[in-house]
Amino acid sequence: MTLNRRAFIGTGAAAAAVLAAPTVQGASHGKPRVIVVGGGAGGATAARYLAKDSKGEIDVTLIEPTRHYYTCFFSNLYIGGIRDIASIGHSYGTLASEYGINVVHDWAVGIDRDARTVTLAGGAVLPYDRLILSPGIDFVDGAVPGWDVTSQNKMPHAYKAGSQSELLKAQIEAMPEGGTYAMVAPPNPYRCPPGPYERVSMVAHLLKQINPTAKILIADPKPKFSKMALFQEGWGNHYAGMIEWIGPDFGGNNVEVNADEMALSIDGEVTKVDVCNVIPAMKAGRICEVAGITEGNWAPVSGHTMQSRVDENIHVLGDATSQGDMPKSGFSANSQAKVAAMAVRSVLTDSKVFPAKFSNTCWSLIDTDDGVKVGASYQATDEKIAKVDGFISQTGEDAALRKATYEESVGWYEGITTDMFG
């Protein structure tokens, strides 16, 4: 691109012209309308950037059932006792009052792609010019034999933050002395690849203080997992003898639970446990299936714009997508939301489009002040979102670096939640 003073002035003139002219798609019914379904890292960010950068030219509606949103990221730190629950809760007040976003607390239950409408559980039918779906994940039925969503009060997943996180923490705190916390880890792909293992670290951190003879058992269908060497080193350093990881070679992929009996069967061997944290296989949030834009468990999208491969009027963000190389994370969803917002604005208000750039970093906390991270940058190709470059923390790093990494993650939390909620 050309970058000189003439281009600078030209841009200003073009922007003024856009402000003065009626917009193409919005002409028939006033302002163009965008509906965003889901108020997490993808949806809240997309709504905010659309409203902010279109400077009132786009009518943005955000549909999110909960009035108070708890971030999944840092919810493990709540379980570990390092954060309190209020510190990971956020409201939508600023998005409504400062950005003029129409925030509707309801469930989206139907999508008519031909009529371009979204139906809410409360009965309202809302028309859109562009729809952004950022519904996060749901669980695959029957993924863990013996478990379904009705079991979640006895065997919580705590993989959507809030009351599930509080329940799991309360269960861990109520464990008998020397009791067992078990985790059934999910198969790939799933939300937050290091999440289950940061969870184990934080559970161990809590138990070490309140119940040091307790045991942690992980049944895992995967032969290896995100940051595996870093977690294993950390578990050895901080929680020696407490954590047992059972991979697929030892039956970690052959698991059954009985919630009434609090029983976990691994390869036929039944163990009574005190807490059973079942994290089943995942799929795109249900609304993607309802809209008919999924292939398999996920909604395929183009990396250039985050548009559904099935319907160009729908953009999908975050965990619900299949897009290529990016992990399912809040950071990824936030990054994708900015690309989608730019693409939607360009269609609805004729604003400029620039090449899609994405990035992700996942921090995990192993113990107090022992933070690690992994991350990568990405670009869009016609086939997928493709990794460009990446990095990962190393085993054997000194305590000062680990502390700095943790402090960085705290700064990131403040940054991304401000980027999402204003």
């Binding site: 970058l3 003073r5 281009a7 950071f331 990054s335 940058s377 403040e414």
Partner: protein, 264 residues
């Protein structure tokens, strides 16, 4: 006059400003000089001590290199990422002049009466955010009291009064990366800047606050570009920033520098 200054500082201890309590609960000059009884004796008995008795200024000059990425001191020192530090002793906080943009946190502390005397400079260097929450100074602090005293002894040389500033070049470090004028002359497209900057703002806050990740707003354009090119060439060590800068073109770096310079 020069010899009286340390005494004046001693007399201003426990002055108007009370910052947030420090983690170690410290703050008294007695505690601060506990490891240097000799200097303390000089300070309290008659004000005959030379200003440099605070610590070892020669050693402090070396430690100051950590600070010199952002701060200049000496003849002709200018405001850069941080304010210039001539005359810092006894200066009211956030008062270096109109051409430096202070954080709201530091402005608030200044309104509450924060004065840069020995005690408060020592507390600030130990843990900037503990003294001034919301400061944009991205520095974890000098935990060793000796290191702080030595740096302060060095800075004290530039603080007696303007006429006494040693005639040395300001402490600007040689740039980590030499940028040719044609790169520095690039002017970015602000609309592109807004899009590119959105990627930075997942971590770096738009309002310039720093809660674990450095503030990047209001930097001089040249300093911003040098920093990004230093990451790009992997001269600066941070892996996330090396990755982010690594795929930015010269134009994109210039565009970002211009964008963040003017953010409110």
């Amino acid at each position: 006059m020069r010899n009286n200054i340390p005494l004046r500082e001693a007399n201003t201890l426990g002055g108007v400003y009370r910052g947030p309590s420090r983690q170690d609960g410290g703050g008294s000059i007695l505690k601060m000089f506990a490891r240097r009884p000799l200097a303390a004796v000089f300070l309290f008995l008659g004000g005959i001590a030379h200003a440099e008795e605070i610590g070892d200024a020669e050693r402090g000059e070396k430690i100051f290199r950590e600070c010199a990425g952002c701060h200049e001191v000496g003849q002709g020192a200018k405001n850069r990422i941080g304010p210039q530090l001539n005359g810092i002793f006894g200066r009211k906080a956030a008062s270096v002049g109109d051409d430096f943009f202070y954080s709201k946190g530091l402005q608030r502390a200044a309104n509450d009466g924060l004065l840069w005397d020995l005690e408060h400079l020592d507390a600030y260097l130990e843990n900037p955010k503990a003294l001034v929450s919301g400061t944009r100074m991205s520095f974890r602090g000098l935990k060793d009291p000796q290191d702080r005293h030595d740096v302060l002894a060095y800075l004290r040389r530039f603080s007696d009064n303007p006429a006494n500033i040693p005639e040395a070049e300001p402490t600007q470090l040689p740039a980590e990366v030499e940028l040719p004028p044609e790169i520095l002359a690039i002017v970015g497209d602000p609309e592109y800047g807004e899009y590119l900057a959105s990627e930075c703002q997942t971590c770096h806050q738009r309002d310039g606050s720093d809660q674990g990740i450095p503030a990047i707003t209001r930097w001089p354009v040249e300093d911003f570009e040098i920093a990004m090119h230093a990451y790009k060439k992997k001269i600066r060590p941070h892996p996330v920033m090396q990755m982010m800068a690594g795929r930015l073109t010269d134009e994109e770096i210039a565009t970002l520098a211009a964008y963040f310079k003017d953010l409110e």
